[in-house]
């Protein structure tokens, strides 16, 4: 299939205005005739649900947790970018656009990224008006800080809880609409299938996680805001319930999956400490504003950090990248940490950690100033590790944090299934091969507050939607297939738990499809995943029943999907014979060990098409055209 991104014509800066003018409008009285299904209530889903309801649409919103306020956007710490230029450093929409597209290693669409930068300012305005308590200067105006990949301070923040505050803002807007009756909220529901009728998304099948009942819902359009797939690695900074099921089942119904091998490894996480460990905890990238990353120069050096004199420390990021220093983008910082540990210079019991040291910052600004900026992060670190970071340097190591890949969408955020829109981390659109810090919050809210509310109207006016009910045969087929797979999982009654399989899959993916990849490893991993999947289908043990609150069954369904999806990631990684951003194939690197792109052959989005269970997917390419920026080798020196 020829992928049409539907990018509007005209100069870059005018595309979005022009598109908004050209989009047909739904008259206010007619909006109430439409019913929109939104799945997920993070920044994207919460903001989309509220904004659509404010416009007059009837919205049904689903979330997996007990309340929409719990979505994992809540855990984002550091901040949200905007091109306000309040700091007078020469920031602009163009600069934010450029930094983001460069940070993504030139594998994102220019028009989407430019639009993101354009609406970034509206987001800050909107959030402040909602009462989000952003940090402020003494004069009462908004404060900014720096983040990786940028040389201006454009990140707005609310202590180390920016995601929480932005999500509670979107949640409060959503709750207001639930109160007016425009949004009907369905918590503790897991979407298990998309229902497609005459080529259009017309509803979903969901499991009520309390009663186990399989429910069906019709809609005139479906909006997926179901986050990323980082938990395919078992250990990640994602929440325990974060999963790929909704997106993957949409893929199986005809939505293409784009760039699944683009995963982000965040450089500053608390290192792994035991095989019982259930998740990894991120320490915000904002810490790199004041913390200095170092390892001992001598690999044999096993002294405590304080005993290592200044002259025997290697501040490798500052030395290697003098202009960006500790604030290089995430992929660069992560790979460098791995490289130091591979050379035997890692610290801590496992040797898989580097120091993030605040001693100089505390000397310079005082402990009180540092506490004010990062107090809750330091406290969290101490709770987990029982070490006091005001006195002893933090130990950090990279971990899976975010996934840039996702369902393919056009400029309108619509997937290859008509009427199925995908927002936030669940889509692939804005971050290319690497996302810059403080850009995820920006994208989730941009999609939900300021993009979808317009583009969905264009779809609804331009299409004919016949009446459908849940009695339609497509719904019945979907319910049967969902029920069959649930019963199958419960009937296997094998010897290994869901977590046993999930951990095994995680190890395979981390070892062969993690920070550095090579063809041999990827091919080997593919075989291993296939084998593990076969074993899962014969030997998984899922206790309990289906008509019940059964958390093992929930996890089993998600891991079953991860076992198929993991292979798709490997397939994508094998096919992309270049390095870019988070995808680092060891065969393609510069002399300085940076990712070496192949713009001649791989300047495209890889959009994978499902062809049948356990069959090889088909690759469709969307060529990326860069008319406004010059493709360069990224350099942060």
């Amino acid at each position: 299939m020829q992928l049409d991104a539907k990018i509007p014509g005209g100069p870059l800066a005018e595309k979005w205005d022009r598109h908004r003018f050209e989009l047909k409008l739904v008259n206010p009285a007619n909006k109430r005739k439409f019913e929109i299904i939104v799945v997920g209530t993070g920044l994207a889903g919460g903001s989309a649900s509220a904004s659509l309801a404010e416009l007059g649409y009837n919205v049904k919103t689903f979330c997996i947790q007990d309340s929409p306020r719990r979505a994992h956007s809540i855990a984002a710490q550091g901040g949200i970018n905007a091109a306000k230029n309040y700091t007078n450093e020469g920031d602009s929409i163009w600069r934010l656009f450029y930094d983001t597209i460069k940070g993504g290693d030139f594998r994102a669409r220019e028009a989407n990224v430019y639009r993101l930068a354009q609406v970034s300012n509206n987001i800050i305005d909107q959030c402040v008006a909602q009462g989000v308590p952003f940090a402020r200067d003494y004069g009462g105006l908004l404060a900014n800080r720096s983040f990786g990949g940028a040389q201006v301070q454009r990140t707005f923040y609310a202590r180390g809880q920016t995601g929480q505050q932005l999500l509670l803002g979107a949640y409060s807007a959503l709750m207001r609409q639930v109160g007016t009756g425009k949004v009907k909220m369905f918590p503790r529901r897991e979407m298990l299938d998309i229902v497609v009728i005459n080529g259009k998304a017309r509803g979903i099948v969901a499991r009520n996680l309390i009663t186990g009942e399989i429910e069906t819902h019709t809609g005139d359009a479906v909006v997926l805001c179901t986050g990323g797939y980082g938990n395919v690695y078992f250990l990640s900074t994602n929440a325990m319930a974060s999963n790929a099921t909704a997106a993957f089942r949409a893929y199986k119904k005809g939505a293409y999956f784009a760039n699944p091998c683009f995963t982000q490894i965040h450089p500053t996480c608390i290192p792994v400490h035991g095989d019982y460990q259930s998740k990894l905890t991120l320490m915000s990238e904002s810490l790199r504003n004041d913390g200095r990353v170092w390892v001992p120069k001598n690999p044999e050096d096993k002294r405590r950090p304080h005993q290592v004199p200044e002259s025997e420390r290697d501040y490798y990021l500052e030395n290697k990248y003098p202009s960006f220093g500790n604030l290089v983008p995430r992929d660069v910082a992560s790979r460098n940490a791995k490289e130091q540990c591979d050379m035997g210079k890692g610290v801590g019991e496992t040797g898989l950690a580097v120091y993030l040291d605040f001693e100089d910052a505390i000397k310079r600004d005082g402990k009180a100033a540092i506490e004010k900026k990062y107090g809750n992060l330091f406290q969290m670190y101490e709770k987990i590790t029982a070490e006091n970071p005001y006195e002893t340097p933090m130990m950090i190591y990279p971990a899976i944090h975010y996934t840039m890949g996702g369902l393919w969408v056009d400029y309108n955020l619509m997937s290859t299934i008509d009427g199925l829109f995908v927002l936030g981390e669940a889509n692939f659109s804005d971050h290319g091969a690497n996302r810059l810090g403080a850009s995820a919050l920006m994208q989730g809210l941009a999609d939900g507050y300021f993009v979808l509310p317009y583009t969905i109207g264009g779809y609804l006016t331009g299409t004919t939607l016949e009446e459908v009910t849940t009695g339609h045969s497509a719904f019945k087929e979907s319910v049967t297939s969902v029920n069959d797979s649930i019963e199958k999982l419960l009937s296997i009654n094998g010897n290994k738990t869901v977590d046993d399989f999930h951990k095994q899959l995680g190890h395979i993916m981390w070892d062969y499809c993690g920070m550095a990849r090579n063809d041999e490893g990827l091919k080997k991993a593919k075989g291993m995943v296939q084998q593990l999947r076969e074993e899962f289908r014969e030997n998984v043990l899922v206790p309990g029943s289906k008509k019940d609150f059964n958390q093992s069954l929930e996890r089993a369904g998600r891991v079953a999907d991860f076992l198929e999806f993991g292979e798709l990631m490997l397939t994508d990684a094998i096919s992309r014979q270049e390095s870019c951003g988070g995808h680092f194939n060891e065969a393609y690197q510069t002399e300085e060990n940076e990712a070496l792109r192949d713009d001649e052959n791989f300047c495209h989005v890889s959009a994978w098409e499902f062809t049948g269970k356990d069959k090889e997917p088909v690759l469709n390419k969307e060529e990326l055209k860069f008319e406004n920026v010059e493709l360069t080798q990224r350099s942060y020196k």
């Binding site: 309340s67 009462g131 507050y449």
Partner: protein, 254 residues
């Protein structure tokens, strides 16, 4: 230093809202003191699963103390013995070898048990629906720096806004009152200029909804403040009371 300990667990097991529950005893053996409390329950659940028994149902998600999904009463204290700590951030190094640990769900009529340790806290959402927001539609906002907010007010608002909506305040209160939760939201907005236009309406509607849902009232026991994992101060309750009286006496809100 990492070591391992053995524990006796007494865990509340209840099949459903209207079923009778009881404490069951489990041995937790070789528990690393670096584990979090929830990871310790994971270990027990894996063992139960292997024995063909149903694992303990419990709510949890982010496991970094911010989503508010987890929580249980541990030895009589919501989220366990550590101050300012959610259950997921409580580590086993705070327990000793051979301790007996009693683990129960939140206890409140407004939070019915779903299964084992998982309860239904939708009442918290309902109180937010009643007025825990600023009525602004998407699109109409002025420039973010058009309204300066004194730094101190912004900081106090942030202190209140740090509430994670876990319900520990209700579980801790002898009256099962959610006043700390309600007051945190009312305070956040009362402290900011953006929240002023609806301040009276918000205070009255949220308190009324709280009463309607069958929660108890505040009698200044201060248990909520002691158990709040985000250390929300009860000065917020004082502020809520002021806002409520102000609204009753000085505004047209009914």
């Amino acid at each position: 230093m990492t070591k391992t300990i053995n524990l006796n667990l007494k865990v509340w097991r209840q099949k459903g809202q209207n079923k009778k529950g009881r404490l069951e005893t489990y041995k937790a053996v070789d528990i690393s003191t670096d584990m979090s409390f929830l990871e310790m329950i994971d270990v027990i659940n894996e063992q139960l699963t292997h024995k063909g028994k149903e694992p303990v149902a419990f709510d949890h998600d982010c496991r970094e103390g911010i989503c508010g999904m987890c929580g249980a009463v541990v030895n009589g204290r919501p989220h366990g013995p550590e101050m300012g700590t959610t259950l997921c951030q409580l580590h086993m190094r705070h327990f000793s070898d051979n301790d007996t640990i009693v683990i129960e769900p939140w206890r409140s009529r407004a939070f019915p048990v779903i299964k084992d340790l998982a309860v239904d806290r939708s009442a918290l959402d309902k109180m937010i629906q009643a007025g825990g927001f600023i009525s602004i539609n998407t699109g109409g906002a002025q420039d973010a720096n058009a309204i300066p907010v004194p730094q101190e007010a912004a900081e106090l608002a942030m202190d209140a806004a740090a509430c994670i909506g876990c319900g520990a305040c209700v579980a801790a209160c002898p009256n099962a009152s959610p006043m700390l939760f309600v007051s945190a939201k009312v305070s956040q907005f009362a402290l900011l200029p953006q929240g002023k236009p609806e301040a009276a309406k918000r205070a009255i509607s949220m308190v009324r909804e709280m009463d309607r849902l069958g929660f108890g009232n505040c009698t200044n026991e201060r248990e909520c403040e002691a158990e709040c994992p985000k250390e929300i101060s009860i000065t917020n309750i004082a502020r809520l009371n002021r806002e409520y009286f102000k609204a009753g006496f000085l505004s047209a809100e009914k």
